[in-house]
Symmetry: C2
Amino acid sequence: MGVTAAKGFRAAGVTAGIKASGTPDLALVVNDGPSLAAAGVFTFNRVKAAPVLWSEQVLKGGRVSAVVLNSGGANACTGPLGFQDTHATAEKVAEELKLNAGEVAVASTGLIGVRLPMDVLLPGVTLAAGELSATGGEAAAIAIKTTDTVHKTAQVTSPAGWTVGGMAKGAGMLAPSLATMLVVLTTDADLDAAALDAALRGATRTTFDRIDSDGCASTNDTVLLLASAASGVVPDEAEFAEAVRTVSADLARQLIADAEGASKDIRIDVTGAATEEEAVDVARTISRNNLLKCAIHGEDPNWGRVLAAIGTTTATFDPNELDVAINGVWVCRNGSVGEDRDLVDMAGREVVITAHLNAGEASASLWTNDLTADYVHENSAYST
Amino acid sequence: MGVTAAKGFRAAGVTAGIKASGTPDLALVVNDGPSLAAAGVFTFNRVKAAPVLWSEQVLKGGRVSAVVLNSGGANACTGPLGFQDTHATAEKVAEELKLNAGEVAVASTGLIGVRLPMDVLLPGVTLAAGELSATGGEAAAIAIKTTDTVHKTAQVTSPAGWTVGGMAKGAGMLAPSLATMLVVLTTDADLDAAALDAALRGATRTTFDRIDSDGCASTNDTVLLLASAASGVVPDEAEFAEAVRTVSADLARQLIADAEGASKDIRIDVTGAATEEEAVDVARTISRNNLLKCAIHGEDPNWGRVLAAIGTTTATFDPNELDVAINGVWVCRNGSVGEDRDLVDMAGREVVITAHLNAGEASASLWTNDLTADYVHENSAYST
């Protein structure tokens, strides 16, 4: 049920006609309150799409009454006219639902550098407004897909009577800090915008920020958390933060599992680091090594490429004290040959690479995927 | 003629039997003087192969009488025993040629994490010593190939009577600062080690440091410059520096042209940058964007991916003032849609991407290549 798992939310997903394929391409999520508290996290990319610039402003007010999302066009690098298109979209939602446009967040995904077809998008908003329902979460999740092969939802319900649910899209350009993704999380718990912001940033830091499919950062990444307070329950903040983290981790894992062209999901565990920051830096560097990603695709436990990647970082370590395990077999000990590489079984989809730096007590995990010919095909023909 | 184009040098390339394929795998370059002045530049990777650790020590003395290079094994991540293998190789060269082992540089390339087969390598040194000749430059260039499809040599002769020549290998792991490469440059000009070092560092900075095939830095990168002074001519330093730069640029261009699986050679020109450092940073970031590299492979002038890459840097620019041309067509103006993308002809092998930052007067160029299914195939099966 995703974004409609929590009470107080309605959603819809419709085919506006933005995509040539004729598949659903416009989603609407509405918060019926009583609270409209919200928080958001956006791409760190300095080239930001018009909807990101718009929604960043909306979120400064800490209130969101509705989110309109479209696939089929990113509305990025479209200049002042592209920004006007985003503005007009929010105004249309406000008009249909009798809301304040300044509280309507907008998110877009698709090709960069192409204007949105407003002649079909705006009627699509009207259509979606008419289809809003408390069971529309799945339709909304379907409508935001681009090259995703499946739609992604998740939810957690607390014994205390509140729920956190969400939906995500993203299969390519999963990236440095937020992946290419649009994520909407909803809850019927009663929290103010500041508490939501703290919970969302805490969750994002160790979930969406710890997946890195191909190192490319989107211009459109958006993660929103909306609270309706419809359950009437003020949650324990620690329990709520953990619930947001659980839903985020679930969605992040689904994103990696559906990464473009991937045949292996790779978890990189860096242990024995001097600091968590260094552990993340090492994990991210390993995750972006194309040679290693190709080797994993070929089920080749090529630990030398792991060491070569670690060697390009500034993290604290002695090259002669590095240990590396692949799926539990310590193929590298003390920076040199360890256990027999033939003992490594890489037949499964999930591969775990453990890099022990022997430099401290900190650790971090990050998910990535292999590099495949399918990735090349999908991304060399994407715009044609 | 490569390394034997300059007077005072002999070289050989033989099949020692290190490679299972039975192709040449051991090269020897000898400086017969009268001078033995030399300079070297090595990988910035902190995980350094045994021959790099050895040769860095040799070069501290500023004198090199011979260089022994092998393909078929990198001797990286092989521990203290691997270092002993490098030492033994240098001693063998010294013994065969009556030299000081402390003036014999060693370079290796091939798989990481595997010991070298010293039982065939050492007899190979004897064989190579017996085949040394003043016309052996080509055989040496052939013997250092790994996945290279062609061997690479270059030379420049000054009207003043001296020559700079060289050979290079490298087709994969072309990287952050030095690419995966072994390069030996020779000259019969008369310069001391300090002058050679200045010329080599100056040349490397704008040639081997400005190619980046796949962002992966090797554990073995080595660039050496040996001077015999056999011409008897003390060169004009500026002219000599320019000659070293010309030979280095020629070899670097050959490396990119032979990058693993590539179908397009891509030059990235960043102009209008605030500083040269920022121009290089932007160029390198663009060159490592897998999505863009796939698009170029598909002959898709996807300028949005150029902007998305620029946006992840910390360089000085305003997103609304970025201009991007692909093969001379300014498809992006002021951060938005520019000339018709259908005007871009990408049929040729060479593609030029120009990113104008409108932030200053500095510029830099960097070469990379596209990302292809062939790259994936070659690197997923490399060690098997």
